[in-house]
Each structure stands twice: as C-alpha cells, then as structure tokens.
C-alpha cells in the first residue's frame, strides 16, 4: 500500500484521539502539542490547554506555533501565570490527560529521559525530566509517545525519570502516588495499552502495513498481544489538512527526523 502520511502525522492523529471534549490537557512540546491543536480543532473544541510555562488557553493561537513559548501562544490566553500555578492544577488532580515522550520505556510504562547506561557514568546524558515526571505522577492519565525500537523498549529502563506502574499492580499506591498512570503508548508501529489487572503493556493496534511480528521484534520483552488486535486508524484527509495548518513547514511532521 502507499501511505499518504508520515509517521509523525499518524502519531499526532492517534494522540489527538486520546483527548475527549471538555478535558483539561497538559500540553507538552513537539508531537503532543500538535495532537492537542488537532483535537481542539476537531472533536474536542472545549478542551482547555495548560502549559507548564504558565499559560492556560482554550482557543487556537492566531498563528501556527513551533513551540509553546512562541508569542502567538500567549495572545488571547485565558491565564498567564506562574509555573507553580499550572503545576498545582496538576498536583490537585485537575488535569485529565497529558503526553510524554521517552528514550526508554519498560513493560510497566516506566520512562527514562535522563541517563542511558546508569547515572554514575552514563553513556548518554539526555535532557532530563522537565515536567514529565510530574505529569507521570499527577495527571489523571498520561499517554506515552515514542519511536518503537528494541533499544528503547527495554526489559528494564536504566533510570526511572517518569514513573509508570513501577513493578506492576499496586506499586503506585505503595510509593504514595495519588492517582494516574500511563493509559496508552503511541509508537511508530502501533498503539499499546495497559492490562488493568497486571498493569503490563499490551499491543492493541498496529500501523497499516506492519505485522505483529515486527512489533514484537522491536520490543525488548515478550510482548503481550490483545485478542482483539486492530489496525491503528490512518489519519483522515481532514486531519492531515489540519496538521499541515499547524505545522506548515513540516518541521515536526514533514519527515521522521524529529521523533
């Protein structure tokens, strides 16, 4: 088959579908930012976006933005405030959904964006948590968005920047987390969700043209497959048009380079 969309476009569309109307969305950078904009301009017009910089807005910015700090994202906002105000909404449990990227993830959705190879003498130092740890701890649910590769989907992550379900069911309660946990993982190969009993990741849909074997091959543990496995819906023409409006230069979604 010939695809008329890029992988980032597919992921943005999948991310957007996770947002319900009227929800409060903690908007991150890159693809999740586009996913929020797409949702807000399609099925979730009443979604409210909160940004860790200190921004709350419930309308589209008057011009496309490259990052949440661009000035058009401040124009017409309904609140410009302190980071602590925004993070407090999160800590109080008023944020319905958020999105996080990662360099490594394990079967329980624990994410590493800090150190590859152990923090004492790391092979690679990554940028770190930013707000990701807070989103993973405090949003009602969060969605992980990342490239599906064996070196990233690991039996055990080198460092837990953003907690998922720890070592399985009951772990979040035990360590004191008040709520939440990852709800889905949107990857370049498909979509995974978490078994409500075991908290383990389960493949629920694959991208058009990708086999279950391919996904398993790129996963660092014996991957569970949902009995009702489906195909990840391709973005519609309307969705693609909207994504191009928000990313007119294709910086984020024009190719696969910025995943």
């Amino acid at each position: 088959m010939t695809e008329n969309y890029t992988l980032p476009q597919l992921m943005v569309a999948a991310a957007a579908r996770e947002i319900a109307d009227h929800e409060v969305v903690f908007v991150g950078m890159r693809l999740p930012l586009l996913g929020f904009l797409l949702a807000g301009s399609t099925h979730a017009p009443h979604a409210v976006g909160v940004y860790e910089l200190g921004v709350v807005r419930d309308t589209l910015s008057p011009e496309p933005i490259m990052t949440m700090g661009d000035l058009p994202n401040l124009t017409g906002a309904c609140w410009l405030a302190d980071t602590i105000d925004i993070m407090s909404l999160l800590q109080k449990g008023l944020v319905d959904i958020s999105f996080i990227g990662g360099a490594q993830v394990d079967r329980f959705g624990n994410l590493n964006t800090s150190y590859i190879g152990g923090f004492q003498s790391p092979a690679t130092r990554l940028p770190g948590s930013g707000g990701a740890c807070d989103l993973a701890c405090l949003a009602k649910r969060h969605i992980i968005v990342m490239t599906h590769e064996k070196r990233r989907f690991k039996e055990k992550v080198d460092y837990i920047t953003s907690p998922g379900y720890g070592d399985g069911a009951g772990w979040r309660e035990r360590v004191g987390l008040p709520r939440g946990g990852p709800r889905a993982v949107i990857t370049t190969l498909g979509v995974l969700r978490f078994d409500p009993m075991t908290c383990e990741m389960v493949l629920v849909s694959v991208r058009p043209g990708v086999s279950v074997e391919t996904v398993s091959f790129h996963t660092g543990w014996p991957l569970k497959i949902a009995p009702d496995l489906s195909q990840t819906p391709a973005p519609t023409q309307a969705e693609l048009a909207m994504i191009r409006r928000f990313d007119p230069e294709g910086y984020w979604t024009g190719s696969d380079k910025n995943l």
Partner: protein, 303 residues
C-alpha cells in the same frame, strides 16, 4: 532621594556573580532568558558556577561549553526545538559536571520554599522515581495530618537571580508580562537580584501599575539596560523567538570546535550590552519584531 541602581552589564556581573556563585536563570522557561547576562559571565571567564533553572533552553549549555560551570540543578537541559544540549552531554558523560536532577515541579517548589523562608516543601510528585537517587534535596516524609507519603523538597537559596524584564526603573522596580514561570519565586528566594531590561523607563510607568512588578526594588541589587538581551528567546511585547538561532546553535555545538566558532561570533565581540542589536543586524531585528500589536486595556489606580 532613592539612589539609582542602574549599572553596566559588565559591572553587575563582575560585582554580583563571583566565581563559585549559585545563579538562577531562565526562570520564565522558554521566554525572557537572560542570554546577554550569561554571555557576559562567559566573557568574564567565571568559574565553578552552580546554575539553577527549570529548562534553560541552551543558555546553560553555552556556559558549560565555556567552562564556567561546576554544577547544574535543573529539570531539563537541552534545546527545546532540537533536543540534546551537546556541551552539557559532553560534560556529564566526561564526568566534568555535577548534576542535581529536578522535575519542573520539584524545582518550582524548591524555589518557593526558598522564597517563603521555609527549609522545605511537601509535594506529591516524584514518588517512585529515580530523581531521589540523583538529588539529595529530595526525601520522603509522612504527612502529620493524613499519613500520606510525600516528597520533601529542600529549599533552594541561590546567591543571585538574573532576570530579564521588559521594562524597569533605575530603582529596581521592573515590569514583566507573559508567562512567568518561576520568576517571582526565584527573585524572592535569592540573596541578590540582577534585572536586565529591554527598556529603562520613568519610574511612574512602573509604579503606575504595581501589579505588574515582579519583585520590589528594595530586593534588587542592580538594573542593566540590555536591549535584545534575551535573544534568541522571545520577549512578549518586544520580539519573537528566533527559531533559526536555536537550530544554528544545535548545528555548531555538535563539536567542541563548532561551539568555539559560535562563541567567537556571538559572545566574544561584545563589550556593551546596548550594542547587541548591531551584532544581530537590521534585517534580523526587523524579522523578529512584532508584526501585530495588541495593547492591553488600561486599568485605573486612582483614588
């Protein structure tokens, strides 16, 4: 009468940022990053600084590349639109930089504790994460009222906060608007505050709207006139984010030599913060300037 605190950038940095100081910068996250002040620290060859800030968006990377930094206490160090910060990576991977890992919330609450004059703040974040292994300012405690397990976050008390504002008077009262990040907390938590300002204005402009003041003048040690002093980060009311500069920096800083070239071009030539727009060039200044002006509706402070 009150005395003026207006000084040159060079004087402010040389007087208030000694070697070994802890400096909080980049407090509004992606906006209003005090690049001019950071570059002056590079020119003055500061050593053993501790840098504190939420994300920094390449400013910390530049200071690390120039050899000014011993330790970073931050939630994220990188380049917002391109990812990795290469000098930072090289330094950590080479064992030449101490790192204290925060999240945006733990950092904001650590500064809030410092601002409020309490030794710690309780939080519900970071529990179960490995931040506890790379940040000695995090401990778990039990709530005396609810029995909940909580994260105790130790106060941060920087020696100096460097904050870029849109306009200030010579007495240290400054106006800021847009997203504020952790600016207020950082100013109140720090022993000294340096304001770098796009404009120095008549004091009545500032005291004519005291709700926009970010920190009262008596807590500010120096005010510096630094037009375009936050470029390439955006400044609400003044200029847009210069995305290309962040991409160019990524490309240059991939190698040590490339970073040195970048530094020769953008840091070394300047002697006076007021001449930065010349270095930037008329075309770029014009391209980044606001195209659509949206003035706020005034409010009345009369009686």
């Amino acid at each position: 009468m009150k005395s003026s605190k207006l000084v040159s950038l060079s004087e402010a940095v040389s007087r208030l940022v000694p070697d070994g100081a802890s400096v909080v910068m980049g407090c509004a996250l992606e906006a209003l990053i005090p690049f001019a002040a950071g570059h002056e620290m590079i020119r003055q060859k500061k050593k053993s600084l501790t840098l504190i800030g939420p994300i920094s968006d390449i400013l910390f990377d530049q200071l690390v590349g120039a050899g000014c930094v011993e330790k970073i206490r931050a939630a994220w160090v990188g380049n917002v639109i391109t990812g990795s910060a290469y000098n930072f990576r090289r330094a950590v991977e080479g064992g030449n930089l101490k790192m204290e890992d925060h999240s945006n919330l733990t950092l904001a609450m650590a500064l809030t504790a410092g601002a409020m004059g309490v030794p710690f703040m309780p939080a519900r974040t970071a529990l179960g994460s490995d931040l506890f292994r790379t940040n000695s300012g995090l401990k778990t405690i039990t709530c005396p009222f609810t029995g909940n397990i909580l994260t105790a976050i130790a106060a941060l008390l920087p020696d100096v906060a460097v904050v870029h504002v849109q306009r200030a008077d010579v007495f240290g009262n400054g106006h800021i608007w847009g997203n504020l990040g952790v600016t207020k907390e950082a100013c109140l938590a720090s022993r000294h505050v340096i304001l770098t300002a796009e404009e120095i204005v008549d004091s009545q402009v500032i005291t004519g709207d005291p709700n926009r003041v970010i920190v009262p003048g008596f807590r500010v040690s120096a005010v510096v006139h630094a037009p375009w002093g936050a470029h390439p980060s955006p400044v609400p009311g003044h200029y847009n984010r210069d995305h290309q500069a962040f991409i160019d920096y990524r490309n240059r800083s991939r190698t040590v030599d490339g970073f040195e070239e970048w530094k020769k071009m953008w840091v070394d030539p300047l002697r006076d913060s007021r001449t930065y727009p010349e270095l930037l060039g008329k075309e770029r200044v014009k391209a980044l300037a606001l195209k659509h002006h949206l003035p706020s509706v005034p409010v009345d402070y009369g009686y």
